[in-house]
Symmetry: C2
């Protein structure tokens, strides 16, 4: 009886939270210029109210009753109870006033970031960022955590069970392989030519990528694709909202960011909808989420077999722009590697170095070694060391990402953890699904999606990142598959003939 | 002290309600096809929660304390307290479960209406409409009202103080004048020619009407214009969302519906924003709201002086379509009068007959004389009598309007009350602002907007429709000005020379 009540309450909270999500989506997609303060007040009032609802003592009572006799519960029910307990405990320790303050500041900080990025003006954004960092520290403080433990708290918020120490080990091993790999690729005389990507009308780009993303399995009857400054996926499987942005002279940006967000959307649409709001219908964590976006964006959509199928349609959509371009040139351009100061504009090889940079900076911010005002200089110095490129402005450096403006510390590592898992899943899928790449070259992506649905999506939050990796791939999460994949895909391409 | 607490709580409730409004806006503008059930659950959960918050006993305590010594309050504070009391009493009598049920059904019924209208299938919609009517009766029942009193309750929800009996008297007087006026106009040999309105590209329509609506004073930095099945205005002055729809072969529909919604938007943007959430920052009622949309749509935007200014730009936007059309022909087309089964496609003369039809049907539905299943036949019969035209399908009849699908009974009369007030305000404005029509012919609408801001918008909900009319125009609300205006505008146009 407690269990039914609990689930019903979790679903009610889920619908309230998804209403709050919609405010966030609308803020980035539709909000009029001068309506930001009103939206901040709406979000703050609603998030405060939801927070108060989610810490109702009745929920604690139901959980206590259920926890007294865990053997009376099925494994599935145990998963629901454990996740509910984790969320309840996390919420109950946060005072409502703090939650409201954080939500209100989040909205203001987002708009400050948009302005600051537009004007290359870090100084105007710094106080907002400083407050975000203080709020993040304050939040961890409610759990008695500070310094690097506070950072672990935020990492765990995104990827349960993960710590800065585990990530550090994984990233060090990755860095030691990728830095020389990047050098090797860049030293090749083979250079992608991107000059073909000029004058791609937005209407045709949109039509093409809607066709591609639908073919991958994204259900537009339960989702949308809109335009925002920063591509993202929000909502859930009942109403999944993707965003991208269009550049006439950079069609690969919208194409691959859309496929990336589609990967996130496929995960959401693949979670068991009847369990939405409970641990059984919730993503396992941000790292796993990112593995789903990455596998479609990179392993699939940058593959030879994918382009075998889509190239003719791409040429049909942009006949003049691609006239005189050979298949080889097009495929090399899709897999272009170059140093780029902007993370989201980076290729999948150097991208990992961007994440390692942000991880190292976040560690310094939380440990206290680094102050927000010194961030631009520190960023630029570290970027030169790790990525091999010094930003020429803060728009190319510290102002490029939305995450910190919304207080999402400890989120960046998930991207790289996701890259590792994506590659590990990829090799498992290749083993399990013989001839899958022939499917791709026929425009058929259903076998891979079904496999991911069964192995990953259907699991919900039964396992964390590390355990899910072990369960699906039979191996511990490591950088091995990612390194193997990058070498197998990129070294032949950049081999001088 | 209680007063400050009350206002702060009213503002919090306002932001929660405006979040709920946004769910409604998004539902009509953006919602994916299969996401309707999820949205219904979101709206239901949120509206139930807001309802529970709005009947918190503390609000009652504060109100009681303030009501004990009304002389200690300023007139403004008294207005805030009275409006808060009205809303509290209305909310506290509605059980939360009822409110949730109504919200959930509203969403389902809306989608059923969309489908039914698409398929001209009243039978599929009838059970939803029946439930809406039952919910409306049930709601009035919580206040001990039934039959026509229940109808009065819903009318009062839209226009405080108004009753079916008062409306009946006003409408009877209007009907007796308009029916012969329509006959007179239609018997004229002067006929508007609408054949010019073909092939107006949507992009140019949108650009033109955004320019027009901005010139009227709509602040797009605090608002948007999007596309929906049924044009509407939602949100409030901090974020005002208008919708329209585009037809390549009917550009006047989008133009005038946009100007209509802009009138609503100007009212919202003109309410004192610092008082949002209280009676001082709330519209006086739907009739007054409609007067604001109508005065811009009809008295202003169908006037000769308006077109003196905009005609050249309209021709610039649609040069080929309007080549060979004289100014006289264009102006006559803008003021075309003809019998049309669809209310929203009707001219401003016959429009009033549509409202009278719906008012008489609603009366019969609430009195019990008419059952939902008999509605289509009854509609068609009444339409023939009042409007002079029998619909050839339910899409042309009972399925044409969104209102009943959302349970908005007692709303329709506001449109016609608004028409009366708009005309009455118009003559007051002409008296108060000499030469205002010369302003219009120069594209300057600021003096009229300022006058409406001062006389109507700034008032908030200090007065109800009847009292506001008296205060601003010096006369009781009547059909006299509307009849005068229609005769002055239309008889010369349709005079045979």
């Amino acid at each position: 009886m407690s269990y039914q009540k609990l689930v019903s309450e979790l679903k009610r909270l889920h619908y309230l939270n998804s209403a709050l999500d919609l405010l966030g989506w609308d803020e980035q997609v539709n909000l009029p210029k001068k309506s930001a303060a009103a939206r901040a007040s709406q979000s703050s009032a609603l998030s405060d109210l939801i927070h108060r609802e989610s810490i109702h003592p009745q929920v604690d009572d139901w959980l206590n009753a259920l926890e007294q006799d865990p053997n009376a519960l099925t494994t599935e029910q145990q998963c629901v109870v454990q996740e509910a307990r984790r969320n309840f405990d996390r919420a109950v320790k946060l005072p409502s006033a703090f939650v409201a303050r954080r939500a209100e500041h989040q909205s203001r900080a987002y708009h400050a970031w948009v302005e600051a990025r537009k004007n290359d003006d870090f100084v105007s954004f710094a106080p907002f960022l400083k407050t975000q960092l203080e709020l993040a520290r304050e939040e961890a403080g409610f759990f008695g955590l500070d310094g690097l433990q506070a950072y672990d708290y935020h990492i765990d918020n995104h990827d349960p069970g993960m710590t800065a120490s585990v990530i550090g080990t994984l990233f060090d091993s990755l860095k030691s392989e990728i830095v020389p790999l990047v050098k090797q690729i860049l030293s090749s005389a083979v250079k992608p030519n991107l000059s073909m990507f000029k004058g791609f009308p937005i209407a045709q780009q949109e039509a093409f990528l809607k066709r591609v993303t639908a073919s991958l399995g994204f259900d537009y009857d339960r989702g949308r694709l809109d335009v925002a400054v920063h591509p993202f996926c929000s909502g859930n499987g009942e109403d999944t909202r993707l965003t991208t942005r269009y550049f006439v002279d950079n069609p690969l940006d919208s194409l691959f960011s859309s496929i990336h967000e589609t990967g996130h959307g496929l995960y959401e649409q693949g979670l068991p909808l009847e369990h939405l709001g409970t641990g059984l219908g919730t993503a396992a964590g941000m790292g796993v989420h990112e593995s789903q976006s990455r596998i479609w964006e990179n392993q699939v959509a940058r593959s030879r077999s994918f382009w075998d199928y889509w190239e003719p349609f791409y040429r049909e959509a942009f006949p003049e722009q691609l006239s005189g371009v050979t298949s080889e040139q097009l495929y090399l351009a899709v897999n272009g590697v170059s140093l780029n100061p902007i993370r989201v504009d980076s290729d999948e090889v150097t991208y990992n170095l961007h994440i390692i940079l942000r991880f190292e900076l976040e560690k310094c911010l939380f440990s206290g070694e680094l102050d927000v005002v010194d961030l631009p200089a520190f960023w630029n110095e570290k970027a030169e060391k790790i990525i091999g490129l010094r930003p020429t402005s803060d728009v190319e450096g510290v102002l490029q990402d939305v995450h910190w403006s919304s207080g999402a510390f400890g989120y960046f590592p998930s991207y790289c953890l996701g890259n590792m898992l994506a590659a590990q899943l990829w090799y498992s899928a290749l083993d399990a699904l013989p001839g899958i790449e022939i499917d791709f070259s026929n425009g058929d992506f259903t076998r891979l999606l079904s496999w991911l649905r069964e192995k990953v999506h259907c699991e919900g939050k039964r396992c964390d990142l590390m355990n899910l990796t072990k369960k699906v791939t039979g191996k511990e999460l490591s950088s091995d598959s990612l390194i193997r994949y990058l070498k197998e895909r990129y070294l032949p391409l950049y081999q001088q003939t």
